[in-house]
Amino acid sequence: MKFKEMTIENFGVYYGRMTIDFRMPPGRNILVVDGNNGWGKTTLQKAIRFCLYGVLKSQSERLDYINDKAKREGNGHMMVQLTFEQSGKNYQVTRTVDTGGNGKPEEDFTVLVNGVVSKAPSSVIDDVLPKDASQFFFFDGEEIKKYTSLENPEATMKAIELVLGIPAIRNAIDHVETIIKSTKKKLDEEEGRDKNAAALSKEVNGYDDEVDRIEKDLKDLEEQKVKLSIWNDKIEKDLHENEAAQESLGKMNKNKSEISHLTEKFEEQTVLRMSELALLPFALLRGRLNDALESRLREKGKYQSRLQDESRLEGAIQFLKSLEPGESCACGTRIGAPEEIFINKQIENYTKRLSSLGKTTDMDLVGLQRLERAMGRIDAIKLQLPEIATRVRGIQGDIDDLAAENKKLEEKLHGIDEREIKELNKKRDSVRDQLTKIVGSIDWNEGLLKNTKVKRAQKQRELDRVSPKTAVSSRLAREIDLTKDVGKALMEYLESTVEDKRGRIQDETSEVHRMLTNKPQVYSSVRINDDYTFSLVDKEGKTVSNEGISPGEKEILALSFIAGLNRSTDKEAPIVMDTPFARLDNVHKTNVLKFLRNLGDQVVILSTDQDINASNIGTIEPYIGKKLEIKYDMKTKTSVISEVR
């Protein structure tokens, strides 16, 4: 599907008739429609959906969409006409609403294929692009986040299958079952002409139904077995990894305890170092204090010697003075005049010597004692700062080594804890129980199938005896058998197709997401589940919950999914994207802009100047084939769309 033109008349804010030409020069596939909020960008997308699918269902909604100015002028006519080509055919789709004389808005819908009016216009459009599938082509950049919801609504799942062409296979299976039932009925009628044969035929059919049911049950059980086995293998693998994780956890705990012990030692050494540092000034002053002390001690010696001299001279003077003339000296000499002269001379000598000693001042012996004690204490200081520094470095190194080892172990564990390991063990036990039960059920059903087939064969032989096969009944039986085989083959085709398509979407979505994400170093791929819900997978292979990612990331994830889906289908339609960058940061915005031209053969972007502007238009400039601008008239409250390039 490739749009050519769209003509709108009195639709929403658009007054009068105007035409948008979607055709662009070769090699350019982006059409940008620029307009402020509320000026009519979303109305254009609504016009496309209205034209193709008649999305304005209620009368009041139809009336609301007829332009107000036109209505005020008494014109109750609104029209959207879309022309496009698909697979070499030209389509012209016209939908109008007219308020007749009774004021009721009547809708008219016409489709021309290669100029010929179609009798089933809705079927034609459904054939080109079904309404449910269109949501993946015409969408709002912000609203697409809904696809990241954890529970996929059934309608979305059906729409996805529609895009992938799955319903045709499902319908074929349903129709084949209908054929089998009706043919069986015909066979019963043919074989049941007599009562006995009718009863036997009924029994044979009963066994046929029973065989079908058991075969279906067996198939389901086998599928469950495969799924459980895969699950079991995965849990076993996780547990195996977790055994190593358990060891790592033990090692981590041991390291933590060692780190705690070493930290205490480190603190002890730190305290010791602080106290040594406090003593350091004394140690540094040791030399000077020692000099001072020695000097004081020398002074003390001199002081004491002088005191002795003083005392000796004073004693001698005092003794000489005590000698009276006529008395005898201690040596027995009688003191006469000569002796007296000698004594006086001696007294004079001694007095001179005493005065030559000078005045003896008191010395601070207490201060000296204090200095001596301090010196004694300083001498006792044995500083070990270098040894402490070596010890501290050693302890710190050990702590760093253990912390680094724990960091590595933590990275290896990806946040797995003991609780998780217990949970895994529980899961494994539960899966093993289920597997055992299923294997038992399979054995039982296989036995039942064998018995039922034997019984059926017996009844068939009885039936053949009482009512030999006619040409018609043989033919009907062959038809049933062939149709049954067709049903089985179609079922197998459906399963394999669904699986293949899901895998394809997963690969395509992952590839697109890698181009769009702002965290390529974190996310590795996108996982698409059986019900087409999807989630991110990180580099470690772990699924990231959609609840845990930002609205912008959800938008990118959903856009990747839509692009992946469109790349996986044969359906081709223009992409009409409204408000593409509502919640995106600059990296996401740039990545989306770079990717736009790959989104489809024809990409229509309905944007504001916040989305695409002078700062980023360069990224898509070479691919812009056309630029349209919406202008809004405040007075008439109507919009006009015109081509600016």
């Binding site: 054939d127 045709a168 296979i169 319908n171 074929a172 209908t178 038809e479 062939l482 085989d485 067709v486």
Partner: protein, 64 residues
């Protein structure tokens, strides 16, 4: 539609060549008229015509 896959299934279930593809083609033509009247009849007619085309001596014993 994956022709090769369908062809392999036709071989596996001993179905007439091209039958599955024809059935799906009918469904695709009526894809958007779910449960459309006449689709089952068209498919049945196709299956019957394939039965008619089977040579008597090459007829497979389909009944269980």
């Amino acid at each position: 539609m994956e022709t090769e896959k369908l062809s392999n299934l036709e071989k596996k279930y001993e179905l007439p060549e091209g039958l599955l593809e024809k059935i799906i083609r009918i469904e695709e033509e009526h894809q958007y008229q779910l449960r459309a009247r006449g689709v089952a009849a068209d498919i049945e007619e196709l299956i019957c015509s394939e039965l008619d085309d089977e040579e008597p001596d090459t007829k497979r014993r389909r009944s269980r």
